[in-house]
Symmetry: C2
Subunit: 742 residues, 2 copies
C-alpha cells in the first residue's frame, strides 16, 4: 500500500483532493463507499489499466467516455511508464495512484490480468471489470486461466465482472466504464431513468441500450456480464433492485442457472423482463458454444420464469416495449378498454387483448349511456370505443369520453389508438390522456400507427406525461399484458407455503417417506415407498408358483394384473411382461407367460374405469421439475404436460392441471362421471413433498395414475424410477417428458 504518493494532475476534474487509499479504507470520505457490485455504476473513483497512445487502443475509450459523459470522480490511468498517456498523466501502478479507486477497468492481454488482480488485492480495491478476452470463451486453456483468476480474486476479496465483457454504465453519474462503440457515436446521449439493464451479451446488449436511449427509455444502470466467471447477471439484478428508485429490470440472458436468486429479485417487488435466448434447439446449441453454459430445456425455463413472475419476451423490441410500461401504475385486473380514432386499430387492439390473455372490458350501462351522448352514430360506443374524427376535433368531447371510460369500475386499463396524428392534435391528446391517467390512477398506453415526422414531439410529450407510446395497437396491448403480469405478481400472496416434505401417515412410517429409492428400484419398490407415504397404489403381492396364481387373483378381488419384475426391464408391456384382466381360471397360464421373462411375477388388483394422468419428476439445470399431465398411451401422442420447478404449492398443482387437457378429461367427457381431481391434486402435492427430499438427479414417472370417479381417489398403476447418474445434471428439461413408460 502506498498512500499519498503524489502523482501529478488528475483526469478527474473533481474529488481529486482526497488522499489516496483503497476505496475500502477510504471510509473517512464524505460519500459512503458503494458495495462491490454498486461500484459497477457508482464508483467514487475509477482506474483504467491497459491504456496506450497506440491508435486503436481500446483502453482509451473508457477514459474518453468518462470525460465526455460527465463522470465527476477521479479517473486514474495506470501505465507502466508513469508518463503522459493520451496527453494525460498516468500512474505506474494502482499503488501509486493518488485518488480513491472503487473500480478498476482492465483492458490488458489475458496473460497480464492475474498481475492486475494481485495489485487490486494489495490495494484493497473491491471490484474489477475484466474486459480482456482470451478466457473460457476460447477453449480449455482459457478456461483454466479463468479459473485461476477467479480463485485468486475470491481469496483476495476482489469481485470480478467478466472476463470478456464490454463494461458498465452508471447513467446518472456519467460513469461509462465501457468501451462500446455506442459511446463514440456523435449523437449518442445518455438518457437517465429508473430501469436497470443487464446483458450477458456485450454487442447485443449495448445495441439494445442504444435503441432504448433512441426511443427515450431512460436507464439507470447498465451491466454486461460477459463470461460471468464471478459476478452473475442475477447478482447484478439483485443489486440494481436494491437501488432506491429502481422501477424495473430488463435482461438479456443466454444461460440461466440461479432461479432462486432471480426469484429473490422479483420478491423485492421489482418487475423483471427477460429476453432468454436459446429457445430453440438450434439456438440452445449456439448458446452452449457461445458461453459454455448449459442451456436448460426451454419448456422448463418457460415454466420456471412464469412460476417466479418474470415476464419472458422473444425479441429486443419487445424487451424495450415492456421497459416502457414498467413505470406505469399497476394494472390490477385484466379488463381493457380501447379508445380509438380508427376502427381498424380498435380491432387490432381487440385481437391482441385476446391473444395476450386479457379481456375486453364490458362497459357498464351508465358508461354506454354517457358515450351515446358524445359519440356520433357512425362511431361505436361499445368497446372498442370508436370516437370518430368529430369527437377528436373537440377536446372537451374527447375529455368526456375518456372520463366516462376511466370512471367505469369494470375498466382496469386503457389503450388509446391513433393513426396519422399531426402536430397540432398532439397537445390536446396528451393533455386529455395525462389528465385522465392521473385522475383515475389507471394505466393508459397509446398506439400511434403513423410516421414520426408527422408529429415529431408526440412520443416524447407522451413519455413526459407518463404515457408509453407504441407504434401499433398489438404492441401497446402486449406491453399492458406484461404490466398485468407484474401487477398480479405483486398482488398475489408470495407467502403461500410450498408443500412441506410430508411424513404423510402417522403410523410410525414417516421414516420411510424420506427414504430414497435404491438404485435399480423396481416398480414394486417405488410403490411400497409411495404407499408408506400415504399415496394409494393397488394391492398386490408376489406370486412364485403357478399353482399359487389363482389364489393371488382371488386375493386381488377376482381380477388382476400380472407384471414381470425383471431387473433392467423398463418396457415391460412391449416385452409381453404385463397381462391385464387375469381371472382365476387363466391365472396359471398368465403366470407362466410372465415368469418366462426370467424374473419374478407381481399380481395386483385390476383398477379400471378412471382417467389416466401422468405425474413425474425429472432433473433440470434449474432444479427438479415436477410434471403433471395427460397420462397413459396419450402421453406420447399429445405430450400435454405442465411443468413446475419444486417446491410447489397446491395452487400451483391446480394450475398445472388446468393448463393441460387433463382438466377436461377429469371433468368428464361424453357423460362420464367427473373424476376425483381433488385426490389427484393431493397425491401430487404429497409426492412433491416426498421427492423434494431426495437427492437430485433422479427421474420418476408415475404413469398412469388412474383418477377414479369422485370420492374414490386415485391409484398409481405404474411407477418407474431412474436413479441419479453422474451426468444427470447435464440433462435438459426435455427429460421431464416421460420417455420411460413402463
Amino acid at each position: 500500500m502506498a498512500d499519498g504518493v503524489s502523482a501529478g494532475g488528475s483526469t478527474g476534474p473533481e474529488g481529486s483532493h482526497g488522499s489516496r487509499g483503497s476505496a475500502r479504507s477510504a471510509g473517512a470520505g464524505l460519500v459512503p463507499p458503494p458495495s462491490d457490485i454498486q461500484a459497477l455504476w457508482a464508483a467514487r473513483g475509477v482506474a483504467v489499466i491497459g491504456v496506450s497512445d497506440r491508435a486503436g487502443s481500446l483502453g482509451q475509450l473508457p477514459v474518453r467516455f468518462l470525460e465526455r459523459y460527465g463522470y465527476r470522480g477521479p479517473v486514474s490511468i495506470i501505465h507502466p511508464s508513469g508518463g503522459q498517456v493520451m496527453g494525460r498523466p498516468s500512474h505506474r501502478s494502482l499503488a501509486v495512484a493518488p485518488w480513491p479507486i472503487d473500480l478498476v477497468v482492465v483492458l490488458v492481454g489475458s496473460d497480464r490480468v492475474e498481475a492486475v488482480i494481485d495489485d487490486c488485492i494489495a490495494e484493497g480495491i473491491g471490484t474489477a471489470i475484466i474486459c480482456s478476452s482470451g478466457f473460457a470463451e476460447t477453449g480449455d486453456a482459457g478456461a483454466a486461466l479463468q479459473e485461476r483468476l477467479v480463485a485468486k480474486a475470491r481469496a483476495g476479496g476482489v469481485r470480478l465482472l467478466g472476463p470478456n465483457c464490454i463494461g458498465t454504465v452508471g447513467v446518472a453519474a456519467g460513469q461509462v466504464t465501457s468501451f462500446s462503440p455506442l459511446f463514440s457515436g456523435e449523437r449518442t446521449e445518455l438518457v437517465p431513468g429508473p430501469i436497470g439493464f443487464v446483458s450477458q451479451s456485450g454487442a447485443l446488449g449495448y445495441g439494445a441500450v442504444s435503441l432504448a436511449f433512441e426511443r427515450g427509455l431512460g436507464l439507470g444502470w447498465v451491466v454486461n456480464t460477459g463470461n460471468e466467471a464471478d459476478i452473475s447477471a442475477v447478482e447484478v439484478m439483485a443489486a440494481m433492485a436494491d437501488e432506491p428508485g429502481c422501477r424495473g429490470i430488463l435482461a438479456y440472458a443466454e444461460s440461466l442457472g440461479d432461479i432462486a436468486g432471480l426469484r429473490a429479485v422479483v420478491d423485492r417487488g421489482v418487475p423483471v423482463a427477460l429476453l432468454k435466448a436459446g429457445r430453440s434447439d438450434a439456438g440452445a446449441r449456439a448458446a452452449a458454444s457461445h458461453t459454455g453454459a448449459l442451456a436448460a430445456g426451454d419448456r422448463v425455463v418457460d415454466a420456471a420464469l412464469r412460476q417466479i413472475g418474470v415476464v419472458r419476451v422473444d425479441d429486443v423490441d419487445e424487451l424495450l416495449d415492456v421497459g416502457d410500461v414498467m413505470t406505469c401504475p399497476p394494472l390490477a385486473g385484466g379488463r381493457i378498454a380501447i379508445v380509438t380514432t380508427s376502427g381498424g386499430s380498435g380491432i387490432l387492439a381487440a385481437d391482441a387483448v385476446e391473444r395476450h390473455g386479457l379481456t375486453l372490458a364490458a362497459l357498464a350501462a351508465e358508461t354506454t349511456v354517457a358515450l351515446d351522448e358524445i359519440v356520433p352514430a357512425f362511431g361505436s360506443t361499445a368497446n372498442p370505443v370508436d370516437v370518430t374524427a368529430s369527437v377528436m376535433s373537440n377536446g372537451a368531447l374527447f375529455d368526456r369520453t375518456l372520463d366516462a371510460i376511466a370512471d367505469d369500475p369494470g375498466v382496469d386499463g386503457i389503450v388509446a389508438c391513433f393513426c396519422v396524428l399531426t402536430g397540432k392534435d398532439v397537445d390536446d391528446v396528451v393533455n386529455s390522456l395525462s389528465r385522465v391517467a392521473e385522475r383515475s390512477g389507471k394505466p393508459v398506453v397509446v398506439a400511434r400507427t403513423g410516421a414520426d415526422h408527422l408529429a415529431p414531439a408526440a412520443n416524447s410529450q407522451m413519455r413526459a406525461a407518463g404515457i408509453p407510446c407504441y407504434q401499433t395497437p398489438a404492441r401497446a396491448v402486449r406491453a399492458l399484458a406484461a404490466l398485468h403480469s407484474f401487477s398480479r405478481e405483486h398482488a398475489s400472496s408470495r407467502s403461500e407455503a410450498p408443500v412441506p416434505v410430508e411424513g404423510a401417515v402417522s403410523d410410525g412410517r414417516e421414516r420411510m417417506s424420506h427414504q430414497t429409492p435404491p438404485h435399480g428400484a423396481s416398480e414394486q419398490d417405488v410403490k411400497d415407498l409411495l404407499a408408506a407415504a400415504g399415496i394409494p397404489v393397488p394391492t398386490g403381492r408376489f406370486v412364485d408358483r403357478a399353482d399359487d396364481a389363482a389364489q393371488a387373483v382371488e386375493e386381488c378381488g377376482g381380477a388382476a394384473v400380472f407384471k414381470a419384475v425383471v431387473p433392467g426391464l423398463v418396457h415391460k408391456s412391449d416385452a409381453g411382461g404385463v397381462v391385464v384382466g387375469v381371472t382365476p381360471d387363466r391365472a396359471a397360464a398368465a403366470y407362466e407367460q410372465v415368469a418366462g421373462l426370467g424374473g419374478r411375477v407381481w399380481a395386483e388388483e385390476l383398477v379400471g374405469g378412471g382417467v389416466e394422468a401422468l405425474v413425474g419428476c425429472a432433473p433440470s439445470p434449474l432444479g427438479p421439475v415436477l410434471t403433471v399431465g395427460v397420462g397413459g398411451v396419450l402421453t406420447e401422442v399429445f405430450n400435454d404436460v405442465a411443468l413446475r420447478l419444486l417446491p410447489v404449492t397446491a395452487a400451483d398443482v391446480e394450475q398445472m392441471v388446468d393448463e393441460t387437457r387433463l382438466s377436461t378429461l377429469l371433468a368428464g367427457v361424453r357423460g362420464a362421471a367427473p373424476a376425483d381431481r381433488a385426490a389427484l391434486v393431493e397425491t401430487v402435492c404429497r409426492l412433491a413433498g416426498i421427492v423434494g427430499s431426495w437427492p437430485s438427479g433422479f427421474e420418476l414417472d408415475l404413469n398412469p395414475v388412474t383418477v377414479l370417479p369422485q370420492g374414490h381417489g386415485v391409484r398409481v398403476l405404474d411407477a418407474a424410477y431412474i436413479a441419479p447418474t453422474s451426468d444427470a445434471l447435464e440433462r435438459t428439461g426435455a427429460h421431464a417428458d416421460p420417455e420411460h413408460p413402463a
Copy 2:
C-alpha cells in the same frame, strides 16, 4: 354531353389542351385510357366535387395534394357557382368541365352523391371515389341509400370506390386522390416502389402507408376501399397485380369473402401479405360492427390463406417487414446461414429460424475448412457463424467469409446480424453484402440492432443495394420465412388437379354418389349414400322384432352394435341408444333397450381395434370447409383437427393428417401396428369429391371413422348429417369443429 365548352383556366398545368369529352370517348388521345380500376391510380384527368372556400373543406385537400405531389393531368374543380374556388377556376358541372376526366373524387354530403353519379353516367366517366360517409356504416337508412347508389352506378356503368373511404394514390404519377392528413405533413414525401397497398380501413391504412414511406419502403399504388359497396379489395389487388412492375401486394382487411379472387391474384405470381384483423372473437365482433361484414371463423381464414399461399401477418410492422422482402430473389429452400458479429444476435436468429419453420443450414465440410482459416478461435465457424470484430475490421476477410457461406450449396439464404454499426463500418458492410447477394443470387437480409443515429445512412444504403434491413434478428428471419412461403408458392405446381367429383364405383351406382342426403337423413341414410359412393361402412340391417335380434347378430359376424334410429335424436349414446358388443345371447335384451327409445333398431357389425379419426364438412362464409383430425372421444378433448376449403387435392389431405396428432396415432403408438393411412386419405378424397356437389350449407360429421391396420381399410362407424338451414351461411367456421357427435 357538352363537349368543348370553354371554361377558363386550368388547375392542371399540362394536358389541358385536350378537347373535353368523357374519358371513355376520348379514345383519340395519346395515352390509352386506364381500366376503371386503374383510374384509381392512373387517371389521365381528375375531377373533384365538394370543394369550397369554407375553412376545413375536406374537398380542398385532394386539389392541394394533386398539385403538391406533382400530378401532371388536369384537375377539374366542380362547383355549382362555376366561379373561383380556392383561387382557381371551377366548373359548374362535369358536363362543362373542358378536360378529360377518368376519375371523379366525391366529397359532398351523402344525400347529394346520387346526383353526382347521374352526372358521371351522363358523361361516361367510368370511376368515382365516394369519400362521403353516411352510408351502410351508419345503419339501415344509410345501407338503403348505399344500395340505391350501387344499383344506379351499376346500371350506368360507373364503378364506385367506397363510400366512406379516404381515397387512393398513384405514387409514380403523384396522383394523390385522397384527403388523408398524411399528405398535409410538412415532411411527407411519396416514396415510389413496386409494392401495392390495399386497406379496408382508411385511417389505419394511411397510417401504415406513412410508416412504409418513413422506412423507405416504396409503394406504387395505394387504395382504401372503405365500405366496398362496389369495388372490393380483392378486385383492386387483381388490378394491381396486372400492373407491369408490381412485385407484391400488402393488404389490411377486416372481412374476407372472395377467397377465389384472392387465389387468382396469387396465381398471377404476385406475392400477397395480408393483415387480417378480427382474429379474436372480440376482434371479430368489433369487425362486424365496424364494417357490417361477417367475420369468418379465424381458423377457417388461417387455413384458407395458407391453402392459397397468402402470408398472413399479425401486425402492421410485420406487414411492412414482409413488404421489404418482396423484392428479394426467391428463397428456394429453407436452409438459412447466419453470419453475426455478436453471439447474442446469432442465437436470437437461430431461435427465430426454428420458430418460423426454417432450418439452420448445416455447412459443408469445405465451408467449415474455409472459415477455419478466417475466423479466430473465439469466434465460431459453425452456423451461426460468429465472425468476431477482428474479421469485421478487415473487409477482405469479411468478403471471404461471406463467399464461403454463399457458395455452400446447402445454404439457401443468409441473415447477417450487426449491433452497434457506426458510420464508417457501413460502406464496407454494404459493399460486401451487396456483392455476395448479386453474385450468389441468394437472398441476403440484415438485422441491425442499434440506434439509427449511429449510422443514419445505413438502412437506405442497404435498401439501395437490395438488402432489406431489420431492427432485430427475429424480425429479419420472420421476413425470410415469408419470402420462403412466397417462393414455395411459386415453385409448387399450382396445377395439381383437385379431387374430382367421383362416380366412385363403376357398377351403375354413380347416380347415387351425387345424391344429396334428404333433410333429416338418419345415420343409416348417410351411410347408404357413402357406401354407394365406395366409402366403406359396417355391414348391417334393421331389426324389427326381439326374436330376430340374435339372427341379426349372427349375420353381423357374431358380435354387433345396436343403434337407435329415432328421428331428431342426435346424441344417441348419451340417451342409451347405442349398445356395443352385442352377442347373440344378449341380442334380445339389447333390442328391447334400444327399441325402448321409440324408433327402429339398427344392427351392424362390430368393428374394433382401429384408430379413430374424424372427417367432416361444415359451411363457412368462405365456402364449405373439410375437417380431418383426431376422432372419437378425443375429438372434444383435444380439438385437434386440420381445416381446408374445398376443393382439396390428395396432397392437401396428406398434409391435413400430418398437421394433427392423427399422424402419430396412425403410425402406431406403443407397439401398435401402423394403421391404413392410405385408405383414410383415399376415403377423405372420395368424400370431398362427393360433398363438393352438394348444395352448400350442410354439416356432415363422420366420427369415428375407424382406421384399421394397414391393408384393412377404414370403416365409417358413425355419421351425422345436418341439412342446410337458411342461416347456414351466417355460421362461422367454428362450426367446423364437430359439435354433434352422434
